[in-house]
């Protein structure tokens, strides 16, 4: 950085936060390209961050390039706002970005950085979702050579990925991919939608919010722009299915804490070996609980 260079006052927002403006410019350029070519893995110069690669450095670089005073940030890890990683990331932003609020309520956030989940509450056009990605390329399981993978992406050649699905059905009678389900964006590029469960994949389709994916270690940024088609790979006669959380009698399990029957559930094994189920999205669970107690109060 040029030490003698001072930004004009009206552009002061540009040097906001932890990243220097060159780093932010690099990331923003990559974001623009990623949004312009939905699903394309845009390479970018990933910076060293004050945390280990693999702990969400890709997501954090996106967040720090996008955030400004007046924004409200929510950080989720495994659906929860209170896990160590989420708390640390939130704390880091609070330290380095004056004027930024943090929140746990999905509805309050303007920017959400997440790992493993997309919030249960529907996102809006005003919100922006940043997902941390460990392995950006869905083709890595079928083709070891990066050069060949790039050609395959360019030509939209995903037959070997589909062959993998075919093999799954042959062996297990269903597609067994639980996380990182390969999803075709805007009719061409297939992406690894980060380790979100199948349950969240339909949320990519025609999303109101811009969804950005950042892989810090692999140095890639890609996007599902708002109102874009996102189709999970499947066969005409073996459609994509999400987790249905049915117990043995075919009834939908409910969250043991809030009673919700429309959320992604985590299986928790109690001390006695007994299984119980709870919302994975802690904010959603809290909201449901609050609504229920309000209803109880109102009826009393």
């Amino acid at each position: 950085m040029n030490p003698g260079y001072e930004l004009p006052l009206d552009e002061a927002a540009y040097s906001f936060g932890f990243l220097d403006e060159y780093a932010k410019r690099e990331v923003r350029r990559a974001i623009l390209k990623a949004v312009s070519i939905p699903g394309y893995q845009t390479p970018y110069a990933s910076r060293e961050m004050p945390m280990g690669r693999g702990f969400g450095t890709g997501g954090l670089q996106l967040t720090l390039s996008l955030i400004g005073p007046g924004d409200t940030l929510k950080v989720i890890d495994q659906g929860s706002d209170d896990s160590v990683n989420a708390v640390n990331l939130r704390h880091f932003v609070e330290l380095t970005c004056p004027g930024v609020d943090t929140a746990e309520r999905t509805a309050e956030a303007t920017l959400i950085q997440s790992r493993h989940r997309i919030p249960e509450a529907p996102l809006t056009e005003e919100q922006l979702l940043v997902l941390q990605v460990p392995y950006p390329d869905p083709l890595v399981v079928v083709e070891p050579s990066e050069g060949k993978r790039k050609i395959m992406h360019g030509e939209g050649d995903y037959s070997r990925l589909l062959t993998k699905l075919y093999e799954d059905i042959v062996q297990f009678d269903e597609i067994t991919i639980s996380h990182r389900y390969p999803t075709r964006i805007n009719g061409h590029y297939v992406i690894d939608p980060s380790p979100i469960p199948r349950y969240d994949v339909p949320r990519l389709h025609q999303s109101r919010a811009l969804i950005l994916f950042g892989a810090g270690r692999e140095k890639r940024i890609y996007a599902v722009p708002p109102y874009t088609v996102a189709e999970p790979l499947a066969f005409e006669d073996v459609p994509f299915r999400t987790e249905d959380f049915r117990e043995e009698h075919g009834n939908r399990r409910a969250c043991a804490r809030c009673g919700a029957k429309d959320s992604f559930l985590d299986e928790i094994i109690l001390d006695g070996g007994e299984k119980t189920y709870q919302c994975s999205d802690s904010d959603y669970c809290n909201q449901q609980l609050a609504m229920r107690s309000a209803a109880v109060e109102a009826s009393a």
């Binding site: 030509e155 050649d157 589909l162 062959t163 075919y166 062996q171 066969f235 005409e236 006669d237």
Partner: protein
Amino acid sequence: MNKILEVRNLSKIHGRGCPQCFDTTGPAQDTNICPHCGSVVAAHDVSFDLYAGEILGIMGESGSGKSTVVKTLFFDETPTAGEAVFFDGDAQYELFSLNAAQSRWLRNHRFGMVYQNPHLGLNFNVSAGGNIAERLLMSDIAHYGEIRSRAKALLARTEVLPERMDESPKRFSGGMQQRVQIAKALATRPPLLFLDEVTTGLDLSVQARILDLILEIQQELSTAMIVVTHDLGVIRLLAGRTLVMRYGRVIEAGLTDQILEDPQYAYTQRLVASAL
């Protein structure tokens, strides 16, 4: 009869090449390595026509350039010079000026290849049926049930036991692997099939059954084929016409029975005389 393939002056040099390459190599010079620059002239000035439904044999010893010819036509290798036109109904393709996507489309939809080494033609990480599925998926068939039944029918046709359909070809015998390769190559019913030493290294009895299968398929589907082999028996059995190659050049071409009974050139005479 309709022409399906027209190859003109096909050349392939491995190495940087120099202006003397073609003059200093060939049967007369008894080498295919250029003494000036050390490049290998794998094929030079190869021209031929192939008609729909016919089998053309390319015969020669190893290093004669016979495999190079089919590999360039199947886009496995890029030729140094030459032209090839593929006639497909009303469409015509200049094979060596297509872009990557176009050549991939032809490879997947209109051509088939069976390699001597099954590792080149098959993916050993997926099942035999999965290998065929892959080729069907490449040609945009996305119905699991249909893929499954077509794979089953193809494997049955090439005499692979249907109960072994979901096994990896890793566990198959060499003959069975070739059958899976043939089934895979035929999955899209291509009008043009390349066979590169498909029976080399197999037991005689297994060889015979594979050759029978190829002939039966040729009659059923009237697929045009280019059969590359060093085996006179294979040529005699399969090919109507034959090219004889040596040091990258076609030294003799004719009807197969004529090549075998009345060879014109010293090399071919020696080759035919040394057949068992």
